[in-house]
Symmetry: C2
Amino acid sequence: MQILVVGSVALDTIRTPFGEAEEVLGGSATYFSLAASLFGRVGVVAVVGEDFPRRYIDLLSSRGVDLEGLQVVPGRTFRWKGYYDYDLNTAHTLETQLNVFQDFDPVLPGEYRDAEYVFLANIDPVLQRRVLEQVRGPRVVVCDTMNFWIENRREELLETISRVDILVLNDAEARQLAGHPNLVVAGRKLLELGPSRVVIKKGEHGVIMLSDGTFFSLPAYPCEEVFDPTGAGDSFGGGFVGYMAKSGDLREETMRRAVVYGSVVASCTVEAFSCERLKDLTMEEVEERFSRFMEMTCFTRD
Amino acid sequence: MQILVVGSVALDTIRTPFGEAEEVLGGSATYFSLAASLFGRVGVVAVVGEDFPRRYIDLLSSRGVDLEGLQVVPGRTFRWKGYYDYDLNTAHTLETQLNVFQDFDPVLPGEYRDAEYVFLANIDPVLQRRVLEQVRGPRVVVCDTMNFWIENRREELLETISRVDILVLNDAEARQLAGHPNLVVAGRKLLELGPSRVVIKKGEHGVIMLSDGTFFSLPAYPCEEVFDPTGAGDSFGGGFVGYMAKSGDLREETMRRAVVYGSVVASCTVEAFSCERLKDLTMEEVEERFSRFMEMTCFTRD
């Protein structure tokens, strides 16, 4: 397996100012794998209940996502219910039902253990580490996290972060974890925790990426119609890691391009509810948007 | 006169989490002219009271700013008192003393009437128009504004905007004036008001610039130490218009470069209180930061 993701596969009930959707396909591993599958072969390590709709399995399979690592166990699938106000940057959680996710023990099928690119989506840092213990010699490990783990599992999270290559998180989380209000300073402090790169997602304000001696700043792709921001961050991760895997090298220019591809895929995701846009997104559309994005951000010296 | 600015010259009392400054040089025309004077010859149309310190006049003159249009009248100079919290994006006003600004009637000295580039800083839209009536045939008129005029002088403001070439405002103002939460859509709606270009300043999140058929998005220059955001927007305006005047053409690539120069000068301004950083900023430093900025934002196709 080229790319491996561990995270959630969920049923989401979402309300935004533009509509609502009930029990639709969601979860970090879902968005990541749909995005990454545009670029390479992805295997999913996650758990669902016996109630998980067959059509969603088919959807993932139809996009080439490998589901050997998706455990189907007795009980109900993880559910998330939330809404967004006109400030589409903040998800307000109404209800989280962990259900079968409560006892999730990630077990990697044999073929997954040789994964070159590993994405630890936003789950308990102890579970993230359990995945790391099972992979043999990954080329790159990328880790996402969220405020809940920063607040409630700080030590475990720091332990996990010290073992990964790239830390991906959003701006509020970066400030919180680093304990500094300035994002550039926060990014530098996060590099001291171990990763060789830190990628900070700023939603509609773009992304910054830092390593020792490099700094990259990209605005967001300008979306005129954001219907549902759910999954934007994980789609970013999928495009980011997917392109990295496809290109096969880790030079600064490749990593920057990976950030742009991540941003492009995320900008598509938010144009429709759930995975509606991702489920038939083509690489042609992605390339076209990449070109337009480049045109919209480039400037020259005279 | 190559560049003309009408706006305020003020005495500011500012508190930020990093210190405070009392009765220091401020005002939109001050910041604009100090920034623009790096690129060309600027004349200021403004008013101060007899209490305005001689050393501030000397400071402006020492930077080549022409003060023939600065009226000195009996009474006290315009004063602004405000503070910033750790969220340095929002200025909280504690006190505004209009003083001599209350009866300000902008009168252009003869040489100013031939100005090629006119910047109408954020003042009453009726006064902005009075300046327009006095200039003979400006090449470009750029107009700034703020929430107070949008709320209290909407019709007058729309009348002024219909007569300018470029509208510059911040993101909250753009949303408010256009009546749309999405900034891209808001920008398009503002173009319908008359200007051929709209530049939206997003503070620490950068700038977008739109015209019919073009879109440019630039992140902010990453500042690690923001001491005082006062004047960032007007310094941006000074760098923006200054470069435009210096280059002498209005092609898209020139306008983009102008946005970058504006951002670079603004990023310097906020590194110190009041005009401390601007007062001895050199074009060499600006060029060096332009190059670094370019390096931090560029990406390529493979």
